[in-house]
Symmetry: C2
């Protein structure tokens, strides 16, 4: 993390990936992010992956560097305190981020009644208010039907992505939207409500990538082509030692590098003559891809991953080896504290392991260690005291009446 | 788009998805975004999908609402003019976004020499400067080996995502980073260089989602489970009319809604007794998922998609139908101008079709129509005149000497 946004305070009511990632991105930019959860935790508090003791690595991963407040959001007094925290004064405060259905007293009208310049960022499922999550949005996107096996080899069944890509995009859109809205407020004094539907995030991406136009203008959609790159050359190959590698030639330079590094330049050129295409063009390489792959497959199958790595080192060939999560974590130095992105962090209740910070280096705001995720309710008393100025006796009363909870509540 | 950032000017040197999406996001927030390309276009100018005449729907999709300038970036004078545009005065100007290797004269030191408070945002492949693209980063991420068929049914071969999810995340990180850096500059007067590696975007996401901790703490990684939701209930089912639907029960409320809407509540409860798990918990539903699915599969197989839609309407069941790109574009009203996200736009050289704007609604900054993508070089003369104040005779000389080009160059 860094300290670029350390004068901002964001109050988050959230669950799952998108809004928590949006808030965490702000926290990793140095903002004070207070996640307010119901006593006992929100619906994502035990999401998998979990440790053997049931602690959620997912929750810890998506809530690093935040403060945690636990309040009885099912009771009017709990919501009233939450609203007071969300609308507390201060030029960088009064910013609320949520992907939950609005609770009474925490909708935009109620928040604005307390603080006229409040900024509320709200993620919904569909624009009409109906529920949608990454899985349902993805099903509608068209992508699962072009993922996995190609049409030629028996595709046709949908394949879901495992990365919650729409949630991640939504979280990052929220971060950018928050900064745009806060910039507007700092210049004009005007707050606002910002609403985004997860399905619109998907629709915008499908359109931006050209697939909406493809159907409208061309009357067709791209086919399923397995792991091949669409419109140029890229495919995965088996190595002699049972690994697989992705080899790509998007640019003429990469294409020439591939011919040189493999020693196959002359014979690859024959693939172009055979298929009567210009292999210097992306379209030509795409059309000749099976012929190109026939030769590369044999070359890869005769070599171990290490031999391929040696052959490609420093050549400008664009390639990468497939690895599983265990390989990534244990064998890839990029996924370790050798990479400044990571630092070993003690996560209470879980243990010490490398956690990523913000994947951005700012020359004017050096990287700071990312704090772990809070324990649920860890900052309830601090926030009640610091933000609302409540005296200890009042905080004690809120605990006694079940309106507020500390970490013991887990 | 809206006008929230209309006082900003961003100069973009880019190709492919990530940096163009970052720039386009800024353009859709109202910023003036000038994409400077080599004469004849950058490497992505003809990327697929394309029309039958070879015009790129992809390029058009990722460069909407920008201005296009074509300069001979391979010549010192072309780079000098590009640097002058990038560092032109103005409180909202002097912001540069790129994912290309630095050209001589367009690196941070050279830009800063012209304008001390310049902000340069630079996307690289790997942190060490070696090349990486979405395909190679994804291969290393671990996700392809848990995508597609489950381990139980013959998985093991990597399945690439088709959505360039890492590029999209990177583009949106760049948008947020730009706003954070500009906020810092507007408060302190200090510019900076911001660097992000695409592989770090991947690594951060894998860590945030808990998969790095899973290996470190648990010594294991999640298995491939096909289209199933990890850690709760979600699976795809065939309908009587040859469609497929995704049905999910993440929350107890969704689980109860599913039992009620299908009329299977009592028999689903038997799955819990049979498997000796509590179906009110996510873990319980995950452990009993095959038993649950056995019953739901038969229910879905006996019904058409329309019948399932009717059965689930208004019930709170979380579900969605799979559709291909053609179905999305032709049959889904969310992907049409019925949705304010879309507007029919005339794209020069391509035609009129619905294009998405920003998937965000700002109450204080109403949605504006998104302009189409420019033709390459469409704004060369305008920018040379407006930004650099060059007289017509000088602009003519730049055309005559091949340093600048207008749209005729295509």
């Amino acid at each position: 993390m860094n300290r670029l946004l350390q004068d901002l305070r964001i109050v988050e009511f959230s669950a799952f990936v998108a809004a928590p990632l949006g808030g965490m991105t702000m926290a990793q930019f140095g903002a004070e992010v207070i996640r307010i959860d119901p006593v006992g935790g929100a619906i994502d508090y035990n999401r998998w992956p979990v440790t053997d003791s049931g602690d959620s690595l997912y929750w810890a991963g998506l809530n690093k560097a935040k403060r945690s407040v636990a309040l009885a959001l099912d009771k009017p007094e709990g919501r009233e305190i939450a609203r007071a925290i969300a609308t507390a004064p201060g030029p960088g405060a009064g910013i609320v981020l949520t992907n939950l259905p609005p609770l009474r007293g925490l909708d935009y009208t109620s928040l604005k009644a307390e603080r006229d310049d409040v900024i509320l960022l709200r993620l919904t499922g569909n624009r009409d208010g109906t529920a949608a999550v990454d899985y349902t949005v993805n099903a509608a996107s068209g992508f699962p039907l072009v993922t996995g096996q190609s049409n030629a080899t028996g595709g046709g069944l949908p394949v879901n992505h495992v990365l919650p890509a729409w949630d991640i995009a939504a979280g990052l859109y929220l971060a950018a939207a928050l900064l745009a809205a806060e910039r507007h407020r700092s210049r004009t004094g005007e707050g606002q409500e910002v609403v985004m539907a997860l399905s619109d995030v998907m629709l915008a991406a499908v359109g931006h990538l050209g697939y909406v136009g493809d159907v409208h203008i061309n009357g067709r959609a791209r086919p399923a082509i397995g792991n091949d790159l669409y419109g140029s050359f890229g495919r995965d190959f088996a190595t002699a030692d049972g690994r697989r590698v992705m080899i790509i030639a998007l640019t003429p330079r990469q294409w020439r590098a591939l011919g040189q590094a493999t020693g196959l330049a002359d014979r690859l050129a024959l693939a172009g003559r055979m298929m009567e295409v210009d292999l210097e063009t992306e379209t030509g390489r795409f059309e000749a891809r099976d012929a190109i792959a026939a030769l590369l497959a044999r070359w890869c199958a005769a070599r171990s991953l290490a031999e391929i790595r040696d052959a490609f080192a420093g050549t400008g060939v664009l390639w990468g080896a497939f690895q599983d999560f265990v390989g990534l974590v244990r064998d890839d130095p990029r996924c370790s504290p050798e990479n400044p992105l990571f630092a070993a962090v003690d996560q209470p209740g879980i243990g010490r392991f490398p956690m990523p910070g913000l994947p951005l280096d700012f020359s004017a705001s050096p990287r700071q260690p990312t704090p772990p995720a809070p324990r649920l309710g860890e900052h309830t008393d601090q926030v009640l005291s610091e933000v609302l100025g409540l005296p200890p006796a009042e905080i004690a009363r809120l605990h006694d009446t079940g309106i507020a909870a500390g970490t013991a509540a887990k």
